[in-house]
Symmetry: C2
Subunit: 193 residues, 2 copies
Amino acid sequence: MAGKKVLIVYAHQEPRSFNATLKNVAVEELSRQGCTVTVSDLYAMGFEPRATRSDITGALSNPESFSYGVEMHEAFKRRALTRDIAAEQKKVQEADLVIFQRKLALLSLTTGGVASMYTKAGDNGDFRYFLWPLQHGTLHFCGFKVLAPQISFAPEYSSKEERKAMVASWAQRLKSLWQEEPIQCSPPWYFGQ
Amino acid sequence: MAGKKVLIVYAHQEPRSFNATLKNVAVEELSRQGCTVTVSDLYAMGFEPRATRSDITGALSNPESFSYGVEMHEAFKRRALTRDIAAEQKKVQEADLVIFQRKLALLSLTTGGVASMYTKAGDNGDFRYFLWPLQHGTLHFCGFKVLAPQISFAPEYSSKEERKAMVASWAQRLKSLWQEEPIQCSPPWYFGQ
């Protein structure tokens, strides 16, 4: 939808990967719709994933006993977070839609195993089970409305044609993404009744 | 049990934290039993959590298109993993018991929220839900027999007496840890029938 801001949080190292293709398709389709698309390419940025006191500039509010949660809250209020964190927070705040594009995370993800392994009877259990901590515990908790995940199962074990079909289905979905209703992000969605 | 090797994987920054106390209690009790206890203190070691090509020394088997899984498997076979990873793998291999001591991970963990929030009807859902990806998807998948988790709920919001009781209950459990049967690590344990 023209004028919308989209942030794609992308975490894959190889520009020639299937993941990269899915990300590129999203950039192209959404830009074509007139959206402003920003990509946070975490590996390329060397984004620091460790949560440490280095995330805070200046003095700590309680240097005697370090509590990451308390210090981050204080630092957020006095704008004392490091520049890389503040920059990502700004992108999230400004975005109308955030797409997380990575292996085994959410919204748009690829799996190692085939679809049958991610069913209630499969070795990995229903794919919704592993979405719970991130999609519900993190995104929903932080106030996101969550759209249905886009799961591309086992590109590694799929034929070239199957991979093409997965990319096409993603591209097709993106065309009408703005008309989608968010999922009912509550336990029954994940675990049934 | 005398002669057993225990590895504690510990991830907390503050030596005066409740987490540190739980870790110290485990070191003391298990050493008293005659176990050899090793602690991998991930923050203190500055352990690198990013999975990148820097984990591999020497040439890649396919530099054209980097696949972390493939390259790590090859590097493992030809002993070309970086020293920090090889060292941790050796510790895990030699250990009879591995205790993961960190926030929101497994076996011995502390939570931010109180116990009622981690029930089926609570905001966070049953605490077993968030154990699924790590305890089942990672530990069980890698061949561990998994002991019941030790969950210390909301030490931040507990009284000094309550925290003492949590530490005491952990210390008490450690005394007979070697007689425990592993849990039945399968979907019913996590999600019921």
